[in-house]
Symmetry: C2
Subunit: 183 residues, 2 copies
């Protein structure tokens, strides 16, 4: 469970075919056909690729011990055979978010926005891995990767719509939504 580095390479190659790409807030990313998910730090854009997004898994920032137990007992692994749909959602938050103290961020994140409680409602359908880019100086502070079965697509749309209506999302300055299908 040590910190692990991931690179998401957008271009013509990769195991995931892009079905939709849209800007939710701010500037989009250049359109690509496929995304390759690589568990290492890739510095140089491979030939034919348009972009690389980088992030690291890290310790949990807001989850309490009790919430961790609830999440841990309900969350599915990645790479389930039936989970042929994925979403890559890169997010950047305003500097005013990072200026908040820990208790104020927790208050917005959970007491006001129910980020964890909302996520729990969609388990065990939707698998998720969070990658952090803030400390790396990357253009996005978070890269969230979701995997789900086609039958859970409607539930996934509800999940992202619900989160985007929260107080937490007022601190989002840029968000791109990339939907994918396993090749």
């Amino acid at each position: 469970m040590a910190s692990r580095f991931f690179s998401f390479v957008g271009g013509h190659d990769g195991n995931w075919r892009v079905t939709k790409m849209a800007s939710v807030i701010g500037e989009s990313l250049e359109s690509v056909d496929r995304v390759e998910v690589v568990e290492q730090r890739i510095e140089v854009l491979p030939a034919g690729a348009k972009w690389i997004l980088r992030g690291v898994t890290s310790f949990e920032r807001y989850v309490t011990s009790r919430e961790h137990q609830q999440l841990f007992s309900a969350q599915p692994p990645l790479n389930r055979a039936e989970a042929t749909c994925a979403a890559l959602i890169p997010i950047k938050k305003l500097e005013s978010w990072w200026q908040l103290s820990q208790d104020d961020r927790r208050r917005v994140f959970e007491e006001q926005s129910a980020h964890i409680a909302t996520g729990l409602k969609y388990l065990p359908a939707i698998a998720r891995r969070l990658h952090h880019g803030y400390e790396l100086g990357e253009p996005f502070d978070f890269l969230t990767w979701f995997e789900y079965a086609p039958r859970d697509s409607t539930a996934f749309e509800e999940l992202v719509a619900e989160l985007r209506r929260t107080a937490e999302w007022r601190y989002v300055s840029r968000e791109v939504d990339v939907r994918l299908e396993r090749r």
Copy 2:
């Protein structure tokens, strides 16, 4: 206040002369005469240098809004003319620390160990900047840099001794203590 990258280069050059280097817990660092503090990411060991320690400043992990105000109003800036002494203290914590939930880490950090309250007692004498290495995959999770005047040396020894007796320190797997004087 965005995240800023720093490199500490140990070798024969640099504005800070090493007066003492000691391992507190675990393996030490190779002995050097001087340390250069550079506000950028240095990848390649310069000629004559023995090591580079890297870290980024980042958002506050445990401080509440009220504690932030107390710290903010009392803490001195770096680079005070009288603060000719410095300490570079690289620390690595056990994986079991990172596995704790946020509320459990906060409990150990402050309610059990009074890390913030202890630091506050030594303000405004001791200036400090914390650099994070965990997300970077660096050998140390934290690099803490302190600056103080020679007359506050005894107070500084008390501060580090007090912290090393806490419950939080049971999670420290490696700690090196490098003391320096401005050239």
